[in-house]
């Protein structure tokens, strides 16, 4: 594969692309720094805005916009995130220019029709209710709130709360959009059936017409985490969701790669690493029990998730704690570390088999400043990690005493032994 191409357009937008000419369609993924972090104390505004970007522009109403996109067989979606507003889609070589023109229209000239604002308000209220009834979502949100306290953008509910959703006005949305959505800080990653001419004329040209303010402001580092424990009784459910979380590291932190490998061994590789082997394979306590390392610009979080029958809640939590303690008494073996490294380097071939995955990875390389040669260097980065460093970081970061816990489900008076 050739190295990806990177172009900074005159309006400040950054376009990264790699041609996979044998793939007869195009996948793209992009972001602008207009996520939760940009909304300040106006909680829920970024989410509201993101959901309205397909609700019509100055040139086209929502229905016409949908007809145009689906009439050419293209897909386009906008999503709100903690740090960014993201957009992604698919189109063909023939429809790329039209799709990017529609994307630019949606980003630069959304109409925010009042009727649509009210529709989205009702949709958000419903989604908040649905999420409030979801055991895993509830537990994740509580742990995020504890790990990133004081309403940090990583810790709060991106949709805000029902009263906040009720209070948002169209004018707030227009102002937020004007202030934060523009070419400054925009990254668009494109892959598939593209070549230089198509990138220049079909994608860069319409993208360079994007005007507006925007640009990223630094996201403050999270305040210190004070571990806590939250019980969320939901007696009408069958299963209890357990989520345990602790601070991780930012993506560019020097500990990231070793910690990522430690997380792989602890709760991801194969059938969820050591954690899955214990809880699922040996004890049959859970269909899923895994860990996750989430590394963002200004901080990160490490979590464990498991779904168990309420009668197994205590046993499951004790087993999770035992696996964390085992990192001290029985550190990762040389064989485990070797398996993990082989997995990470082997997945160089497998995990980016799809256009959509390639677009996502290209975008991450640019967003986190990893360099366009990151994929070429990755095997060396992993190869140089020492066993001792991986073990030490697992011991340092995966600590029960430094972790918060939330359990949601039919817990009744069950004890949470944490």
């Amino acid at each position: 594969m050739n190295l990806p191409d990177r172009t900074v357009l005159e309006n400040g937008a950054i376009l990264v692309s790699v041609a996979l000419p044998s793939n007869p369609f195009i996948a793209f993924r992009g972001t602008v720094p207009a996520g939760v972090a940009a909304e300040g104390s106006e909680f829920g505004l970024a989410e509201f805005t993101s959901r309205l970007l397909l609700s019509g522009t100055r040139r086209m109403g929502a229905a016409k916009l949908a007809d145009r996109l689906e009439g050419i067989g293209a897909t386009l979606e906008f999503r709100n995130g903690d740090e960014v507003l993201s957009f992604q889609g698919r189109c063909t070589r023939e429809t790329a220019a039209e799709t990017v023109r529609i994307l630019v229209d949606c980003l630069s000239e959304p109409a925010f029709p009042s009727k649509e604002v009210e529709r989205i308000r009702a949709e958000l209220q419903n989604d908040l209710r649905i999420e409030a009834d979801d055991t895993h979502h509830r537990a994740v949100r509580e742990v995020s709130r504890l790990v990133f306290p004081k309403d940090h953008p990583y810790g709060r509910e991106p949709k805000g709360d029902p009263s906040r959703v009720q209070r948002v006005r169209r004018g707030d949305i227009v102002s937020f959009h004007e202030a934060h959505v523009g070419p400054e800080g925009l990254i668009l990653a494109v892959t598939g059936d593209v070549d230089r001419a198509l990138i220049d004329e079909g994608i860069a040209t319409p993208l360079s017409r994007l005007r507006g303010d925007g640009g990223a402001e630094a996201i403050p580092p999270p305040r210190p985490h004070r571990p806590g424990s939250v019980r969320i009784p939901m007696p009408h459910k069958s299963q209890v969701d357990i989520v345990i979380g602790a601070p991780g590291v930012p993506r560019r932190h020097e500990d990231y790669y070793a910690l990522n490998l430690a997380n792989l061994l602890f709760g991801r590789i194969g059938l969820y690493g050591r954690l899955g082997r214990n809880l699922r394979d040996e004890q049959g306590l859970a269909y899923y029990a895994f860990s996750n390392l989430d590394a963002r610009t200004a901080g990160g979080m490490w979590t464990i998730s498991a779904g168990v029958n309420p009668s197994n809640l205590g046993k499951a939590i004790e087993s999770i704690r035992a696996e964390m303690d085992r990192l001290r008494t029985e550190p990762f073996s040389l064989e485990e570390v070797r398996d993990g490294k082989e997995n990470q380097t082997g997945s160089l071939v497998v995990s980016l088999e799809r256009n959509a995955e390639v677009a996502g990875e290209l975008h991450r390389m640019e967003y986190h400043g990893l360099g366009m040669d990151f994929l070429e260097r990755y095997a060396d980065i992993v190869g140089e990690l020492t066993e001792e460093r991986i073990r030490n970081l697992a011991r340092r970061y995966f600590l029960p005493s430094a972790s918060s816990i939330a359990v949601a489900g039919p817990i009744g008076r069950l004890r949470v032994p944490w």
């Binding site: 793939n23 929502a62 897909t75 419903n126 792989l264 194969g270 990470q344 082997g346 995990s351």
Partner: protein, 453 residues
Amino acid sequence: MRKPLGEFPSPFASGNLISRARVPAPQMPTHVETLGNGLKVILRPIPDTKALSTWVVYRIGSRNEVPGMTGSTHWVEHMLFKGGGKLAKGDIDKLISRLGGKMNAFTDTDYTMYFETIPATALDTALMIESERMRNAAFDPKEVEAERTVVISEREGAENQPDFAVEEELWGLAFHVHPYHWTAIGYKQDLATLARDPLYRHYLRFYAPNNASLILVGGFDVAVAMQHIREAFGRLQPEAPPDPLRLAEPEQRGERRSDLERPGPADLLSVGWHIPGAAHEDTPALVLLSTVLGGWRGFVPFAAGDWRPRSNRLYRALVEAKLATDVGVRLESKLDPSLLIANATLAPGASLDRVEAVLDREIEKLKRAPPPKSELARAHQQVRAWARYEQDGVTFQGMLLSAGEGLGAWDFAEALLAKVEKVRPEQVRAAARRYLVEEHRTVVRFHAQEVPG
């Protein structure tokens, strides 16, 4: 499913390198051959591709179960990751993990499929795993017992979602005789009591080369691959062919309805109409009918992700009108006559009666007049585009071929697409008149009660 889909290895977490998987043009060369023991082999080589996806599809699903043993096919699927023959417990995980590969399995009503996507240089590893899995699974009694609670936990996780209750109720009500009456996960009572020996017999009966197809997509040479396949699978003995399923659902005479009153966040409506089996000549028109009504997300919906079609009649009539916050239409094409299902999540304050009335109105419109040419052209374009998008990479291509093979022909999707191209507006109206009739439908309404606590 052995592992929740959300837990596929993430490229961000695990590393990466681009593997060039070509999306095949229609009729891309595909080698098909049947071994002496009955194993059908379907090979789609993609030159210059560094990855390889190996799939085995067995013609066994929950439709082959009997009352009292519901969920057994899915449980068997779980057991086939626990070793046997040359493979000790944990070996499959270890072998695939070291390669940086991904793997999973899916139990459907009509078929069960297993896959590994790995570097193309490791073909023999995948063939060895699948060959051992086909005849030599261990079914250690202790392991069977340990997996009981895992399978029950999978079901309990689904039970936490109100739409699972609606789905189970809909199929249970629409089918009284045919095993589509139950879902692939099975009933909890059966999962609590099923014993090891009947499970093992279920495995031995249906896991045989003459009841399976092996599919390879990616970077390999056909002649070399065939030689390795013969070495790995040629010695496996066939079983007597399974008896064809004789149960047929009697024609539904009269609408069936159910009102569920349970704690939940939003009212839900689900309506299912009986449709013919996938091979029926009306299926292409039903594809477009379902696209006009609720949009199209591909034959195998995994590739669509969160994408939400908005240029369709139900979205316009229900979501844009603020009566629902989400709608969806699924054409459940199966081996046997099945259902076309319309779902709606109601907006706050909207009534189930009103939403149902609007749905009825939209169905009546479809019966009254054929869709305008421009609308049908849009539907055609969506189906055409998704035929490309859902073949993004060797894994999805393998899945598409395997699901097609599970429905009777590996090129099912390609052949159907060609037929869809020829569907005219009048045929869509005719399909609506024939199938979307009140006396053949089942309606489930979920009345969300206040959530306790």
